[in-house]
Symmetry: C2
Subunit: 340 residues, 2 copies
């Protein structure tokens, strides 16, 4: 086993200099650091990470916190894709990615405390945002670096977050339906406690208003971010006195349930009802018909959040940022033109 | 900040006893450990994990290594589901789950070296198995705990692995098609370098042989574990002089491509061609028609591999095990009876 003494001898410096290089001490010149690191590579020296981290006060790891029930969450293809994006950056920067596996809010809190107090990670990416979240309160108290994917409920100007412009996206996709001649357009979203739903719904309402169309309360439904949620919402829509000719669905996985329930009722998409969706997970091209949906560039949401977090972790004075990832409409086969 | 000295004073023991409790030293009685830990909880003491790990020689973390291109791999719903299973156990046992984000063989190797030499993790779960894999060679050399999900190519009796009985599964699903009157049955698998393909294909061949049906080389195709792979294989099958009436596809994601390409050619499933598949990822009930497929219980593959690895990491003398997770056939709508 190669030791610090061996490295010191082979480089011609003192062992304490080698230790300081390991800790990336700013008092050691870049030249010396380069020389020492070269020797380490040549001799195949790998410092015990716990020893190194103890000195360097860094773990070279970031934690990723999934929303409450990790179980259900991982069913949504959003999450593997966002992990892909995060992983591309952690790999490049030689950071480890530690995944939370907590199942509920309490477990998340205890896992976060463990990660922070144990200095297990240098920072956290939260793949959710909630009102009165004890996790973000705790992270603020501890002044611990974190980044939110989505829109933070509190401290929007002091918390770095990576998001889409969901209001504009909701407005654009609704306007597209209106341009195709639709006048009765329903909305199916996730919980109204989530900003992503609130923003997309506000965009939908703005488009209706701009076109002088009525904003009907019964046409707006809220459900779980799951296929089963979509099925339930469709039942309410089909029971409406005035049946809509189009639906804006705020998540591809919900759309899956919407399509399957409509088919089961003998309602043809897009002939009888048009459907548009959000996210553009790979599911959305598999459905029949393939979904016209907003591509929110999930991979990029992940990659940019990891970059921003590492910057913040390596330099505490880095200012908070709002990073908006552009979206596109992907036109497929789930919308028909309505003759008036 | 609460220190070790504070804990010692409040419990009425010496600081070195507290350190030994942190390191879980067997020379300290369980009684004392309990008392010290209770004080830690009460005073809100969280040891720096790097300091603790340095003493305890444990990271309380396990690494999960995805196959070569993490990018492509995460597209297969197999992986989120297996992570779900692993996560359920790591959470329960208070282990962290570190996810590899390497993109190719070389990067995997350097990441594994870093994890092992740096004592970043106590053990590794490999979500793949390859012939002449430098990673497993290295892990054997280092005597580092690891578990393979799938069937190891080498040292099958000395490496703990969690697998399905893919031979029997392949035989059963093929026999089911034969029982429905099919005589010309094609096979579409992944690369023949993967045991999972080899085993399922051998089961398919055994069923044909047992029924006295010909085993035709042109009816067996090998492709990438991706939707596009399924599309390409179907093109070859449709070009065959004697067109099969059924296809055994060794992966649900490939089946997705198979179904979409068949539909595009105006071939109806199951009326013209029956399709059976493997894995039972949630995609398989979304396809039209819904797929008759082998449920390999992916979640359980993950959970059992994590359990076995933690056992091994905590007790080096734990013997190597082969853990076989039972499978079931899930009957859906992609098979028709063939009148002879």
């Amino acid at each position: 086993m190669v030791t610090i003494k061996d490295i010191a001898k082979a480089t011609g410096v003192s062992p304490s200099t080698v230790s300081r290089v390991l800790a990336d001490n700013p008092r050691i010149s870049e030249d010396t650091k380069k020389k020492v690191r070269k020797t380490m590579r040549e001799l195949g020296y790998h410092p015990n990470i716990h020893a190194r981290n103890l000195v360097a006060k860094s773990s070279k790891a970031i934690g990723v916190i999934l929303p409450s029930s990790a179980d259900k969450a991982l069913q949504n293809p959003f999450f593997p894709e966002v992990l892909r994006g995060i992983g591309s950056v952690t790999h490049e920067r030689e950071y480890a990615m530690v995944l939370s596996s907590a199942q509920n809010g309490e477990e998340i809190m205890s896992e976060v405390r463990r990660m922070v107090f144990g200095r297990y990670v240098d920072g956290l990416i939260l793949l959710y945002s909630r009102i009165n979240d004890p996790v973000t309160e705790f992270l603020n108290e501890q002044d611990f670096p974190y980044v939110i994917v989505g829109k933070p409920y509190e401290n929007i100007n002091t918390v770095t977050h990576v998001d889409n412009d969901n209001f504009t996206a909701g407005k654009e996709i609704t306007k597209y339906l209106i341009d195709q001649g639709h006048e009765y357009i329903a909305f199916i979203g996730g919980s109204r406690e989530l900003f992503v739903t609130v923003d997309r719904e506000a965009g939908y309402e703005a488009a209706l208003k701009e076109a002088g169309l009525p904003n009907i309360e019964e046409q707006k439904l809220h459900t779980e971010f799951l296929k089963s949620g979509g099925r339930e919402a469709v039942e309410s829509i089909l029971a409406l006195e005035k049946r809509p000719t189009a639906i804006v669905v705020s998540d591809d996985l919900i759309s899956l349930g919407v399509l399957s329930r409509l088919e089961q009722s003998g309602v043809n998409v897009p002939e009888d009802i048009s459907v548009v969706s959000f996210n553009n997970v790979y599911l959305s091209e598999i459905t029949r018909p393939a979904l016209t949906t907003i591509d929110i560039h999930i991979y990029e949401l992940g990659a940019q959040s990891a970059k921003a977090l590492i910057e913040k972790a390596e330099n505490k004075s880095e200012p908070a940022k709002r990073i908006i990832i552009p979206h596109d409409i992907i036109y497929r086969d789930s919308v028909s033109k309505r003759e008036s």
